[in-house]
Symmetry: C2
C-alpha cells in the first residue's frame, strides 16, 4: 500500500508530475503541513505566506476573498513560493460544467491556472468538470485534487457520492492526483493518491458554521491522510505564527514518521 | 400545487421577498426566459445584457470569467437591470464551508452580494453553506437557489443527494427560494420553490464536455420548471439575438400558459 511508504519512495514512483513535485518537496523540507491562508487583504496574505513559508509544503489560498487583489499579489505570491520552496494551492472548489470551469480556471481576473500549482474540484457536476479543467491545466503541468469528503457537519460527500468521486479520479490519473478527504483513498498497489485533510486543529473542536476539527495524529496516523491543512490555529495570533507553525509541522511530521515505522 | 398556478398568483402569496419580486417581474414582462451570458469580456457582457434585456426575467452571469472585470462593469450591469427590468443572477455555485462562502459572497474583488439579486449554492458542504450566505445576503434582501440537480452527464445530484438538498431548502425558506433543477420540487401546498432549469435548447442535443439539452416544452410543461436558462442558442449569432430571444421567450411563455390552462 503506497500510503504507508515514505514520501521519497512515493515521489520516485509517482506518474503524475505535480504529485511527484509535491512528495519531493515534502521530503526535502520535512513537512506535510499546509496552511490555509483565509485572509481578506493583500498585505495579510503576503505576511502569512512569508511567515509560514519556511514550514509548509503547500500554501492554500482563497484568492477571491482578497479585497485588494491585483496582479502584483500573484507575482509576489509566486516569488514567495520560490523563496520558501512551497506549492500554491488555490482552493477554488470548482463546481460547474466543463465549459464554464475551463474559463474560470484559465481566464477572468484571476487566471488561476497561470500561478496555482494545485487546485481542486467538486465531482458533483460529473466527469466533464475534470475534462474541462484538464484542457487548461495539463499543458501547464498543473494537477487537481477532488473533493471526495468534506469535514463539515451534514456534508453530502458520503456513500455513492464518495465512491463515484474516487472512480472518477481513477479514470483520470494523468491530471487528478489526489483528494480533499478525511482518510486514505488508495485501495490497490497501483494507485497512489495524495490525500489532503482540512479541518485539522490541536486546540479547537468546531466553529458555529459547521466546521469540525481533528488532530494531526488522527488524520495522518489513524486515517492515512498525507497533508494536514491548518488555518487560524497557526496565524490567528501574529506573534505566535512561528511557534504554532513549528508545533503543527512537528505534530504532522511525527505522525507520518510513526506511520512509516509501523509499516516497515 | 403552487407549480401549476399563474406567476401572478404565486407572487401574491410568496413569503420570500426575492421570489415575490421575480414572479411579479415575470408576469409584468410576460417572460420566463433567463439568458446565461457566458462571455469573457466586459464589452460582450454589456452588449448581451443590453440586447437580451427586454426579453428576459433574469440575466445569468459568470462574473469570474470576464477578463477585464472592473467596478464600472458592475455599475453598468445594475443600470441595465433597471433599464430593462430584469434581475441579475450570478451563477457562482458556492461550494465551500460557511465561513469561507461568507467572504466569497460579500467580499473580495467581486462583492457579489452587493449587486447580484440571486445567487446559487451547492449543498454538498452541508447546511452551513446556507447559514454562511444568509448572514451576508438576507440583510440585503437577496435570495439563493440550491443546486438539487444538474443537467450534465454523470452528475452526482441524484437520489439521497437531491432529497437532502430539498430538505435543506425546506428548513431555510427565509433565504432559499428555489432550485437549479430539471423538474418541479414542490410536494405540498405550503411550499412554492422556483425552479430554474439550465441546459435548455431548441436546436442542439449536447456539447463535448457533458452538457445535455432539453426543450422549453419539456422543462416547463412536462417537468414543471419555472424559468428556462438559455445560453449561446440566443446570442451565439450577434445579428440574430433579437429573433432568437423572441423565439425562446415565446416557447417558454407558451409552455407556461399551456401548463396553467391544463390545470384550471
Amino acid at each position: 500500500m503506497n500510503t504507508n511508504k515514505t514520501y521519497a519512495e512515493r515521489a520516485a514512483r509517482h506518474p503524475n508530475a505535480c504529485a511527484k513535485q509535491l512528495f519531493e518537496l515534502m521530503e526535502r523540507k520535512k513537512t506535510n503541513l499546509s496552511v490555509a491562508a483565509d485572509v481578506t487583504t493583500k498585505k495579510e496574505l503576503l505576511a502569512v505566506a512569508d511567515a509560514v513559508g519556511p514550514f509548509v509544503c503547500v500554501l492554500k489560498t482563497h484568492i477571491d476573498i482578497v479585497e485588494d487583489f491585483d496582479q502584483d499579489l500573484v507575482d509576489q505570491l509566486v516569488a514567495l513560493s520560490k523563496k520558501h520552496d512551497f506549492l500554491i494551492f488555490e482552493d477554488r472548489k470548482f463546481a460547474d460544467i466543463g465549459n464554464t470551469v475551463k474559463h474560470q480556471y484559465g481566464k477572468g481576473i484571476y487566471k488561476i491556472a497561470s500561478w496555482s500549482h494545485i487546485t481542486n474540484a467538486h465531482t458533483v457536476p460529473g466527469e466533464g468538470i475534470i475534462s474541462g479543467l484538464r484542457e487548461v491545466g495539463l499543458p501547464l503541468g498543473r494537477g487537481i485534487i477532488l473533493l471526495a469528503e468534506m469535514s463539515t457537519k451534514g456534508a453530502l460527500t458520503q456513500g455513492a457520492y464518495t465512491t463515484e468521486s474516487v472512480a472518477m479520479a481513477r479514470r483520470n490519473q494523468d491530471f487528478v492526483f489526489g483528494f480533499i478527504a478525511q482518510h486514505k483513498m488508495n485501495e490497490s498497489d497501483d494507485e497512489d493518491f495524495v490525500v489532503m485533510a482540512p479541518g485539522v486543529g490541536l486546540d479547537v473542536v468546531g466553529d458555529s458554521l459547521g466546521q469540525q476539527y481533528r488532530t494531526p495524529h488522527q488524520v495522518i496516523l489513524e486515517s492515512g491522510c498525507d497533508v494536514i491543512i491548518v488555518g487560524r490555529g497557526i496565524y490567528g495570533k501574529p506573534d505566535e505564527i512561528e511557534a504554532q507553525a513549528t508545533r503543527y509541522r512537528e505534530a504532522g511530521w511525527n505522525a507520518y514518521l510513526e506511520r512509516v515505522r509501523q509499516h516497515q
